[in-house]
Amino acid sequence: MSSKSHAKPIVKPIGGQASNARTENAAGWLWASPWVVGFLGFMLLPIAMSFYYSLTEYPLLEKPIFIGFDNYASLLSDGVFLRAVGRTALYALVTIPLSTILALVIAGMLSARVRAGGFFQAAVFLPTLVPMAASAMVWLWLFNAKDGLINRTLAAIGIEGPNWLTGTITFGTDAAGQPIQMPWAFLSVVIIALWGVGQAVIVYLAALREVPTSLYEAAAIDGMGPIRRFMSVTLPMISPMILFNVITLTIGSLQVFVIPYVITKATPGGDPRSLYFFTSAMYDNAFVYAQMGYASAMAWVQLLVTLILTAGMFLVSKNLVHYRAG
C-alpha cells in the first residue's frame, strides 16, 4: 500500500456533480449486487414460493394444485401440528428465562475478575463451538439410563436416576383424573440448551464491563445494598443487551430442530412425539411426506409468529429498556 503525504488539498471530482452522482449510484449497486442478487434469488423468491405453495396442495412429484387457504384451515385442526407448536412454545417459555438468568449469573461472577477468569470464560464458551450433532451424541451418552455418567454418578450417592430420554415425569392428576405428565426428554433437551449459554455470557460480560463504576459508587453512597444496586443500576444499564439476547433466543427456540432430531433417531425405544417441535413438523411434511404445500403453510405460520413476537418484544421493551444517550 503506497502512502503519499496527506497535505494536499481536497480535489474536486472531474465531470461535475451530476455525472459523479450517477457513477456513484451505479458503483453502489454494483458493489452491493452480490447481496442483492442473493436476496432476490435465495430469500425473496423462496419466501414468495413458500407463500404460493402454502395455498396449494403440492406433493412434489406432481404439479401444485391451488386450494386457497385450506392448508391453514387444516392446520387449525391438526392435532400433531398443534401439539408440536405448543411443545415449542413451552420449550421457549422454559428455556429463555432459565438461559438468561444462568447467563447473567455466570457473567456476573466472571465480571468480578477473579484469577484464571480467562479459563472459566473459555470453559463456559467452549460448548457453544461443538457441532450440534456431536453435542447430541455426547449427551445421549451422558443421559443413558443404565450406563450414562449422570445416572452412574447419582447411583454412587444412592439416587436412582430417571430415564432421561424415554421416561416420563408425572406431576399428579388433573381434574379429570388424568395424569399430568411431561417426558423427561423435554427436560433433557432444555439442559442441553442451557449448556450453550456461553455465547450469551460473553455478550453480557462485555455489557457488564461497560457499566461505569461511578454509577455503582453513587448508588452505594445513596445507601443502596447490593441487590438494590443490581436492580436499579446493573439491570437497566445492560437491558439493551438483554433484549437483544432474548430476541435472539426466541427466534432460535422457535426453530429448535437438530438436537431433538438426532436424539429421537437415536432412541428407538422412546416416544417420537416427546421431542416433536415446530420445525420437526415442517421438516417431516416437506421432506418425508413430501407435502410441500402443507409444510409451506406451517412455515408461514412460523414466520408470522416470529415477526409478531419480535415486533411485540420491541414494543414492550420501549418502557423496560434503558438506552444510554450517546
Binding site: P34, G41, S50, L129, V130, W139
Partner: protein, 318 residues
Amino acid sequence: MSEGTFKVRESHWSSAATYAGLLLVSILFLTPLAWMVVTSFLTQEQAAQGPEVFVDGVKSFTPSGQAVTTPIDPTEIPRQIVRNYYGEHDANGVPIHRGVWTDDGVNFPLYLRNTLVVAILSVVGMTLSSAVVAYAFSRIHWRGRGVMFTLMLATMMIPFPVIMGPMFIIFSKLGWIGSLKPLWIPAWFGGAFNIFMLRQFFMGIPRDLDEAARLDGCGHWGIFWRVILPLSTPALSVVALFHFIYVWNDFLAPLIFLTHRDDFTLALGLQLYQSKAGNTPWNLLMAASTMVVAPVLLLFLFAQRQLIRGIAGDGLKE
C-alpha cells in the same frame, strides 16, 4: 463523605464464593466434553461401566461364572486409542477391528474431505462477498442504500425453515442437488450479519486514507484492496473464523440438500455412524464425536481472543 477511592465490586459477592461458583460451573460445563474424550480411549466394556471403572476396574465374569475385576492397564490405552480412532489390521493388512476412520459403512475420510471443501469455498466466498457489499454500504453513496440496508437487517429475522423447502426446489431446478454446491455457493452472495459487522468496522476507517488513495489514481476497487481490506484483517478474520465454525457444525442444510451419501459432511456422517445397523458402541461413537469436535476446539485454542472479541464486539468498535 469519605475521601479516597471507593471500591465497589461489580459482582456484589465475596471473592471466594465467586471463585467456587465459577469452578463448579466450569466443571459442569467441561465434564461432558472431558467424558467424551475419556470414553473414546476405552474399550467397549470399560466404557459401559461408568466412572467407577477407573477406581474398581472392569467387572466381568470368568467362564466358570465367577465375578472378577480387572483394573484398567494404562499401557494398553495408547493401543486402544489407535484401535478406536483408526482400527487394527493384521500382518496382511486385513482389518481385525474397524475404528472410526476405517469403518466400512461410514466413510469418514471422504466426509472430512467434503466438509473441508465446503468450508474453504464457503469461507472464502462469504468473507470476500460480505466485504464487497459492506464496502457498498459504507463507502459509496448510492440511491436506495438506506432502504437496502434496512431490508438486509430485516432478513436476519427470517427463519431458515421458511425458505428451506423452496430453496430445495430452486436448487434442484438449477441442477445443484446431488452435489455439494447448495452448501457453498450461497455463501458467495454475502451474509447479512457479516455484512453488517464489516460495515460497522469499515465506517471506523478514516476517510482521508481513501482520499490519499484517490489521489494516487485509485477508484473504488483500488481503495477497497489497498486501503480497506488491509486495515480490516481483525474483522475479516472474525468473519472467516465464525463462518468456518458455522459451516463445520452445520447439520440442517446438509441434511436437506445432500442426497448422495458420498456427499455427506462430517456432521451427517456422525449421525449416520450412530444410527447404522447394530448400534455403534459408545467408545467408538465418542471417538467419532471427538474427531468431529477436535478441529473446532483446536481453532478455539489458537484463536480464542479473536472469537471472544468477535462476540463481545469490542475489537470492532468504531
